[in-house]
Amino acid sequence: MKRVVIFLVILLAVLHQDFWWRADDRTLVLGFLPVSLAYHVGISIAACLVWGLACRYCWPKDVDLPDDEPATIDAKRGIR
């Protein structure tokens, strides 16, 4: 799954460069939204989904610390 998420992030970055709408000033989505703007709104929504997948399936394993861990270390350092 990690590879799928990495692929999706790269795909997002590639799809971001939407040169194919570059000169289209006539197509309107919902009758008022310029197609390029609508497309990038879609990119934002897709980013939300992709990073949601990353959080679900690629969450780093070494970052979830037990609650009592900092107390020991903070005590040593004079409660930073």
Binding site: A13, V41, S44, C48, I73
Partner: protein, 574 residues
Amino acid sequence: MLLADLPPGQLQLWIIIAYLAALIVLGVASGRVFKGTAHDYFVASRGIGPVLLVLSVFGTTMTAFAIQGSSGEAWASGVGVYGKMASWSGIVHAACFFLIGVKLWAFGKRYGFQTQIQFFRERFGSSNIGLILFPILALLQAPYIIIGIIGSGIMIQVATRGAFPGWFESTGGAVPFWLGTLVATGVVWLYVSLGGARATAWANALQTVIFLVVGVVTFWAIADRLGGFTEATRLVQEYNPSKLTRSVTEQHQQLFQEKMAAWTASTQPAAGAPVLRPHKPKAMTELEFLSYGMIPLSVAMFPHLFQLWLTARSAKTFRMTVTLHPLLIMLIWAPCVAIGIWATSAMVGGKPVIPFTPEGPLVPGPNAPVPNPNAVLGLMVQMLSNPVVSGLLAAGVLAAILGGMDAQFLCLGSMFTHDIVDHYFEHDRMTDRQRLLSGRIFVMLVVAACWLLTLALKEAKPIFGLAVWCFSGFSALFPLVFASLYWRRTTKAGAYASVIAGIGVGVYYYVRAGLERGFASRIEPLVPPLPGLGHEYGVVPAVPMVFCALAALVLVSLATRPPSPQTLRKFFSK
């Protein structure tokens, strides 16, 4: 007394006062749960939950530019602004939170770090890395804060025009700049002093809600006034179709010539009312569009964001922030960009709404208004003739401004306390009580210094152009933070080389552009990536800065002795 009986500007003033009072109430409430320790003051005892974290991180990263600037830039440059700023930010900010924020939070919790410099000192075994990083971080942040204070003063002055005709004659009855900025910064200082990081997080959450609501309300009201969403966009297609794309076609040029001829004829003395002046079509190159992807890397090194990350209750708290951040950006940027595009061709009762274009005023003359993209949103709201929406907009813009400022004040106070006073004068032995006292004193000094600098620099135009350069400066530090977390081979010498190369290249480009075009002008943030290339290859300065910083980091790290096994065990346990 009815609302209609109030003098102009007074209703807006009351809305602003209500908003500032709400901030003070939040400050007092957070002060009641304040535990009286430096740990609580600087990082809220690392107890902030997921909802508060997502709202406060978003409120901190979105400055006034998200509301005011986005509309203004869309008005000046067209629809491409959303892609180059908002959708890039959605992808890259979330990546930075996921890859960097979570790990830094874990090291912060495990080893008790409260500033970025504390982390870098330990990671590179260099007691003095702060001597190079502290001035850079503080100097990059100062213009950002000052621009915010200037924005708050201008916004209060514009919104309250006519409120006190007998008191402030020189400003047309508006709350004067010095007083507006004093009150705004004073309120921020008060709630930061009362509740520290917790007050900052609560205030940012409130501010995020306010400017999301304001964005949507303004969007609907403006569309309605322009005859509906479809009609507003149709006018753009008719007068300025190039604003709906990133390119300039032959038809765009032809239409511009025709509309320009009609406008020129309308400005002759014998003619009637002036017609809409078209904007000169302006293309955005694909390279420029791509290069803006480097700017959001700056969030990885914002000191105030680092401070906010540390307040998270657990690593899992970040999940909601990583996931929802792109969506929140979209919710605020898309309506504001649409308003900016509509503003290029907006007419009410046959009259243009914006009295200027980027190229000049609608009606030439000695008293003609100076083109100012930041005024566009205000003018669009003024068209509504609705003091409630005007007041809400003022509160929304203030919320966006103050939301970034509070965290910046707090983190500068923390950096002065931990990285300078405690490290160099007390040899890291300050007691908790001393650090709390020092933090509060430094926050007060930073607020006072920034306010005084704002009064002195109010008229200094270069400060505005400096903002994008400052973001580029933070981006140039991205290779440093990323490599320090993910590349075991990164060495102390490589870290120093990276900072010097990245920031050095930025200073070189800034000075060169300033000498060519004058420091008093707004220095355009596009530079050729390689010597000898023309402006058609212009990219944001962050591109050469990031690549030079990366090259220096890799080459020097490989050429110097690897970090000690103890350091590697500490930061790369697996």
